[in-house]
Subunit: 149 residues, 10 copies
């Protein structure tokens, strides 16, 4: 187990022990979205020094953990693909079933390129609906055209 | 090659030969979104009888193709995973890097369940941005709580 | 090993040490089916607070385990696919050999959609038979039609 | 493409061309369940001579196809695993998420053994439900205890 | 590492430390074949209560291990496939090279069905041969015809 | 499709068309076992010149096919592993579940080495049994000790 | 085989038949680098209308091929990974052996982000060296910092 | 976890604890490039005795670690492929999308052979650019022609 | 099927039809070893112009095939790994079982580096032995030390 | 980690701590080749009692380790395939690129059979060469003809 995975486990244990919510933690850390802060504490984003210090305090981590929280992490470490969890798998299924459609429509609108997964933001919201509330996800990524030199 | 894959190839050849756009095709077929119609013609959705007849005419397909276009298709047939195309891969990467985050936040907001990939809709739009236009994706799926009996 | 896997191991050790049966445990926990409670203790369902408290007491777990038992779990964690155990493999084989048949017949009866694995229940019973008792499994999942928008 | 896969494709093309339903085909072939006959025509069961002759006539196949329809087939040929189609995948997911639970409960009730996938039958029915009709699946397989010699 | 794998490791360490042979161990445990008892101690069969008690004594295990030895095990746990060990790989190779032949000949003799791997027994013997002794394996499994309902 | 796979397909088509049994074919070709001749015609063994000539005549193949039947074949070509067919899978399961047991017992009896899959013979017979006939398989392979130089 | 793969095969056959070099072809097509034009003709980049017309003429393709050459292609189609060819494999090996090093050094110099593979250019040159000429590769990709919102 | 992986983890922990940069560490160790020294400390190159001694001192490792730092390492140990981290994946994508192009162009310029990954050097630099700084990578590997004997 | 695979198939068909041996073919083509010429005709080495012309004549290929025989081929195309054929698998097994040993001993004798698979030659001979003739393989590859810059 | 992997790690640690060479260790153990003794200590061959005792003394292992060193090991345990280390990978590449050639030439010289990997010996030597010393590998394996019964 990498040092980062071990830290993630301790973060999750602390959240459980202290009975914290992700939105509470995110609000305590700073101004980025709960997605960014949750991802960061799960090992997918670095925190800045101030955020890391707050996280160490809030989650009662060890002082040395701040440096690790600030490092650009090895993203995707230890996540099974295809996903075994139904919630995560449904997104994988969307990629598998709709991927070529997205390719066609983005190419038609923007030309040859991609939606950046780096200059990217997203939000998740509850969309009330009388037939059953919906998960509303908004993604926005910069279009990056393939450059030719 | 399955009969459906062969049909998809003929659809793409016709679109190229007739110099059609997906949005044009979608507008000609009916009232669903371009994503639905593009996906349908790529073998990921069935068309209804009226839509299928229009598609056969518009794309100069064979009359017998209408029945195949109306069948619930074997979704995901022949699509490589992990995706080899950069545009599609970026979505796969989002699932791999953000999947556990989505799991945590949806569970926190909605409880134990999933976002449906079946009662699901989405749109893709161009979001103008002075720093470079963005691909804006809106997804909305019904929250389905795990039922216990 | 994740905290949840470790808890599952401790649950199994306790069940062995205390010589408990799953049906006994299930009866002690509440009103859901033994399948739900067994799955929950194997890390595939969350328990509610009352059930978790009972499980901690019955299985002599640590007080902090209750919070983990109440979390929506990462389902499918650490289960080998294809299954290596013959009992589980036979179900996998049924999916591989009958899957396209189920697809055809469900589509013929219900149209384009799926049987939900989320709004789903099942039971397992002994079916006495002079030629050898049978395992009788009843599954019932809500039909979810693919929605088009 | 194997001779059997080619035959399956021709069966599906004939069913589409002749606008037949699986239940109609099954009723015409004999007394087994629609699941058995659909599976047989999809290459997962042999037909007997009488059934094969009827199938050749009904589906306007070539006379030589009867012999192939009567051979014990290589089951599972060309079916992707994990399944890419959502309807079939949900069953795969049930195996992955519930497999260890089934193992525990069948072992508790019956002892060390398996549910046979060979001496096995099943049915699929529509279960009316005001909250949305359900797919009701009944499986019954002979319990086979591991023998020790 | 699962509790069962850990127990297997302790069994092997005890066998080594006590300088026991599998045939000696099997003779001490009861009346099944050495294959069954060896497989059981390697985690592929449960022992009954009497056998488990003898095993704990003979192999100087911990008293609590008896319950684990009596549980129907998760078979095939942690065994690499394809096998990396040449002795085991040769059997895998036989399946890969002769499998379709066995399919054809068993189907010709018995019809559509399988040789049970559950109601199954086997023996391994030394077959003296002037050109080099041979490993003689006798397998016998109940023929199970595919049932149609 | 390789030339050999194509030939195998034509062999199977001829067998079906001419309504021949493997045992009939084997008896017509020479003195080896039906397993050897069936395997040879499925592309897993070469025939000698006389046998190949007989096979061409009996199965109404093309004269040029004799040379291909006489070549040492690329064994295992195009056979899916893990096997998808239940009859073949059961043997795979035996290797996965019993492999380490065979390793232990053969090593105990013979020392460090393998059972040859090259100097190997086997037979398949029907073993009458009032509780259901059994498939009886006898394998015999030369023990090959690992040599040290 | 996709329409694009078929076109690539015809491009390669034409290049061989007409005895053309990639640098000659590239010079004839326009002002991008030979890497871009070679990649484009191998199905990894679209050409613009003028380039496509020139390519059709130069390589004696069919008129309808121009439209396909102008489409944003499904990149990476049909390329085996890990690469089986030694020249290509060496690059894969560099990624496998140096990847974490690049991660560390780019993160140290630039912070959390990636080198774009989209806004990317490269050249390959011969670097004369008395000990044996060298392949000199220059890559330049825009640094894209992970954005946080 | 191998001894080498454990050492790498301790190197990373020390770097973090002592707040060192790779360029600082490289400058302290000797005259090779930061890429070589970073790779060496990540387990992809051996150090010489003098460098190893300096590394042990600088990173406050244990004296016995010097011997391990001097051993030719098992390269590529424990690095996931395809890479899960976006920075490393982009290089993998370049190989997948451009590999056949490199093959064609290197073969055209140099003939049948490879770029050595052994007699190889590279550098990474920041390339200032008003549209966004770029990662500039220079690779140089000896061309090795396939020899024929 | 690639143009090269198709050519290989036609080479093998011609060799069979003309009843040629590889050693005869090799002797007719030039002065390299039979291994080189056999590998070349199987698509793993290019021939020079003179050799290609001879091959086209000897094997009665089409004139246009000469150009393809002269191209540096995509090595390893379509060869299954792990090998399914026992003869080829045994070499794979040697790599899997002895690889770390070779690593240790070559590193001890030569230092950090590899045996080149590019500047490499080998021969295969019959080694008469009263206990059974042996396959004697001599490999010789230039040692390439990892360079540090 | 298996007991044998743990022992291998302790062997390697002892070799490092005691600053021993494999050739020194081999000379101390007995009369087999360094390849055999190195492989044995890496877990790929058993030692005899005398050799095991010497190994325990020389490498300062624990007395109980002798029994483990004498057991026929599970070969190939924990070795990644495809190999990630360049030195080992080159051998894998030779199998992938030359395998079919070896098949053809051995079959032509010896008939249908294999080179034994069990009755097998090899040596590795330095072959001085003014253009760069070479790794010379001599392999010799008994030819085993496929037997037909």
């Amino acid at each position: 187990m990498s040092a980062r995975s071990d830290l993630t486990d301790r973060v999750l244990a602390a959240k459980r022990r202290l009975n914290l919510k992700w939105t509470t933690i995110a609000a305590a850390l700073g101004s980025s979205s709960p997605i960014v802060y949750t991802a960061a504490l799960l090992g997918q984003f670095p925190l800045n020094a101030e955020e890391a210090a707050k996280a160490v305090t809030l989650l009662e981590l060890e002082p040395g953990d701040a440096a690790l929280l600030m490092e650009p992490p090895m993203r995707g470490e230890g996540i099974p693909m295809p996903p075994t969890d139904p919630l995560i798998y449904r997104f994988y299924e969307l990629v598998m079933n709709f991927g070529p459609t997205w390719k066609q429509l983005i190419a038609e609108e923007f030309g040859d390129g991609i939606m950046s997964a780096i200059d990217f933001n997203m939000s998740i919201e509850r969309e009330p609906d009388p037939k059953g509330d919906r998960v509303k996800i908004l993604m926005s990524g910069k279009f990056l055209p393939f450059k030719r030199y």
